[in-house]
């Protein structure tokens, strides 16, 4: 209890910092802070990020007070349709013509890689929350401008992969979305499984946004693996799980959804999703603070609850705005420095730390989906099975492949 009080006091003092700084004048490029929310607004990941991410960013701006140094804070948004080329065009236009200072969300790993590379080139801050490829802080890292705020494929593999192998699931077959994210997730989970003494029997790579998964599941069944690892996300995961239940795959093999959010569970329904293990960096029903924020979000989003991605957009946008205020400028290097120096203590993370390679280290949670009988209300979906400390969940800088960071 004492510790909690201390934490609250610390959080309050940090939150208080910008207030004292607000008296001083700051320097803003274009006399405005512009935040661009780039996401899939209409496709298979639209519930994963989409309009909810825009709402979350707006809530952050609203809670911050709407103004900084007496100047406006604007939020703009765009639909990248899961196409890296569209994402790149939009972002380039934002940076070059519209004076956008920072982009956030950037889901879909192919998009995230393209946007982060562009941010590096243009010296603009890019915060990735929805995409998960570990390449963002490894081979393709951009420590001066790129931030990876929520989970990555290594953390997902570390939490769910380890838990499943420990449970006896030592032979795996992967259903992999055929692009950067799926490949990363398959590889990182495979590594964890092998390191824990397990075996990978094979994998099938399906195109993004596939309608019918029965054929792939039949291949998984033929492989004889104990665990079918779903290295996909959003609508693809939803359809995989539905087809697995329909074809009786789950009677003999276990499914491991490597990236699944509460919005996906909502879409599948507890009848089909019950018992699944999954990991998220946040859940709306963790504590009073998360519930309070979720209520605020629900009010602007037709009663829907936020997932960890939406919470991460809010948290990272707030963290950015506070850093701008503390630095007294929206200059990229100065803001990045402040963001690294200041620990993140809000409803999303406690003691979260932005590392020099761009990774934001925070705790991850292992959840199990409730049975229909356990669930007391719509959106009451998870039982908390364990908390994995950030340092254990995420790869260390030393183990990473980011050559731009001195080891």
């Amino acid at each position: 209890m004492k510790f909690k009080l201390l934490a609250v006091a610390a959080a309050a003092s940090i939150a208080g910092l910008p207030l004292s700084a607000s008296a001083q004048q700051g320097k803003l490029s274009g006399d405005v802070v512009k935040i661009g929310v780039l996401s899939d607004m209409s496709g298979l990941y639209a519930d994963y990020g989409g309009p909810g991410a825009v709402a979350a960013a707006r809530l952050a701006v609203q809670d911050f007070g709407g103004k900084i140094f007496g100047k406006n804070i604007e939020v703009v948004s765009a639909d990248h349709q899961n196409k890296p080329d569209i994402a790149k065009n939009v972002t380039q236009q934002w940076f070059d013509r519209d004076g956008v200072d920072m982009t956030v969300e950037n889901l879909n790993s192919s998009v995230a890689l393209a946007v982060q590379a562009l941010g590096k080139e243009k010296n603009k801050i890019t915060i990735v929350t929805g995409a998960a490829t570990s390449r963002l802080t490894n081979e393709d890292c951009a420590p001066a401008t790129g931030i990876h705020y929520l989970m990555d494929t290594i953390a997902l593999a570390n939490v769910v992969g380890k838990a499943v192998v420990k449970d006896g699931g030592n032979s795996w077959f992967f259903l992999t979305a055929d692009y950067a994210f799926g490949h990363s997730l398959e590889k990182d989970t495979g590594d964890v499984v092998k390191a824990a003494g397990g075996r990978v029997n094979g994998a099938v790579r399906h195109p993004l946004s596939t309608n019918d998964f029965s054929s792939f599941l039949l291949q998984a069944q033929t492989s004889g693996a104990k665990v079918v690892g779903l290295a996909n996300a959003g609508g693809d995961t939803v359809n995989s799980i539905k087809a697995a239940a329909e074809f009786g795959i789950t009677k003999r093999q276990n499914l491991a959804a490597l990236l699944m959010l509460v919005t996906d569970v909502h879409a599948i329904g507890l009848n089909t999703a019950q018992g699944l293990y999954l990991t998220e960096g946040w859940y709306w029903d963790l504590n009073p603070e998360t519930r309070a924020w979720a209520d605020k979000y629900s009010k602007v989003m037709n009663g829907r609850k936020p997932n960890s991605n939406h919470a991460a957009v809010y948290s990272s946008t707030m963290h950015y705005l506070k850093a701008v205020q503390a630095a007294g400028t929206d200059d990229t290097a100065a803001v990045m420095k402040k963001m690294r120096e200041t620990p993140i203590n809000d409803m999303f993370a406690k003691g979260g730390k932005l590392r020099e390679d761009g990774r934001m280290v925070h705790d991850m949670y292992l959840f199990q989906v409730k049975t229909p009988a356990e669930s007391k209300a719509t959106w009451d979906y998870y039982n908390l099975k364990g908390t994995v400390k950030g340092e254990e969940a995420f790869q260390t800088v030393a183990a990473g492949k980011c050559t731009a960071v001195k080891k």
Binding site: Y45, T210, N211, S215, Q219
Partner: protein
């Protein structure tokens, strides 16, 4: 010999079976498109959206009104058909005699609007539709478990396809329809109400899409995107089969389902592209499609 190219025959049989199930959906949807194009010369891009509306209506009937699957199977095609009649009489009728492109643009716009409305209301990841109790479980075919519901889909859509083909090609009503398309003025002169016939044909075509929507609801997620996911493939099916050819679209739908199923085994990465490769090849050698007649 118990394997082909390293794939066990048992597994291959299973994949062919699944291909057949998907092929049935393609056939049912492309049939509606073919009827509408063949009879009315309208390239109906709203077909996918109306298929989605069919699935959503079934979901609403079940979850908001407690109406079961069987009743939905009857009611939904009628409701979607009525919606189609409304679209035809209020919008499409004005485009008669104009270039195909106008109809295409209008229906495409309609599809975007309908999809947008549902996405706004329900989000993109969709709603689950519970399988009717009788269909829970599966048949053990030896080489695979075939869920009972998928077996039902094969039977029901084949019946619907054959019945449609029979009505249009073999009955007097079908003869009127075909004549009305060929020469509306002459048919009018025989005292037949051609505009009404056109409306009913369009309603029937989209009613088939509604039927496919109800049948798809328990299998796939009932999602605003389900129409746009499938419509492009269905158009490819119609083009390969020959625009407007009823039998062509049925046979091509089933065949492409099978080919797609096989692709998922041998080279999964191109499974969503293979249909278009076939389309390109077919168009090179037979521009009117496999079963189409050059006009």
């Amino acid at each position: 010999m118990d394997s082909i190219f390293g794939v066990p025959i048992q597994a291959l049989m299973g994949q062919l079976m699944l291909g057949l199930v998907n092929g049935c959906f393609y056939a049912l949807l492309s049939l509606g498109l073919a009827v509408i194009f063949g009879m009315l010369n309208i390239v109906n891009f709203a077909h996918g959206a109306l298929y989605m509306v069919g699935a959503f209506l079934a979901w609403m009937l079940l979850n908001l009104a407690g109406v079961n699957y069987w009743v939905a199977l009857l009611l939904v095609p009628l409701a979607v058909g009525a919606l189609g009649a409304l679209i035809e009489t209020t919008l499409l009728r004005w485009l008669q005699g104009l270039d195909h492109l106008y109809g295409l643009l209008l229906t495409f716009g309609l599809a975007l609007i309908i999809e947008g409305i549902f996405r706004e209301a329900y989000g993109s990841s969709g709603q689950p539709y519970d399988l009717p109790q009788v269909f829970k479980g599966a048949f053990d075919l030896g080489f695979m478990f075939l869920p009972k519901y998928r077996a039902w889909v094969v039977v029901a859509s084949l019946v619907a396809c054959l019945a449609t083909w029979y009505v249009i090609e073999k009955t007097r009503l079908g003869a009127y329809l075909r004549a009305g398309t060929e020469n509306p003025n002459l048919v009018k002169a025989f005292g037949i109400n051609v505009p009404l016939m056109v409306t009913l044909t369009y309603a029937f075509g989209v009613g088939l899409a509604g039927l496919a929507g109800v049948m798809a609801a328990p299998i796939y997620q009932v999602s605003p995107l389900m129409g746009s996911n499938i419509i492009i493939i269905v158009f490819a099916v119609v083009v390969i089969g020959g625009m407007g050819s009823i039998l062509g679209s049925i046979i091509t739908g089933l065949a492409l389902g099978l080919i797609e199923g096989l692709t998922k085994v041998f080279y999964a990465e191109i499974s969503t592209t293979v249909v278009f490769i076939i389309m390109a090849v077919v168009l090179m050698f037979r521009p009117a499609g496999l079963f189409g007649r050059e006009k």
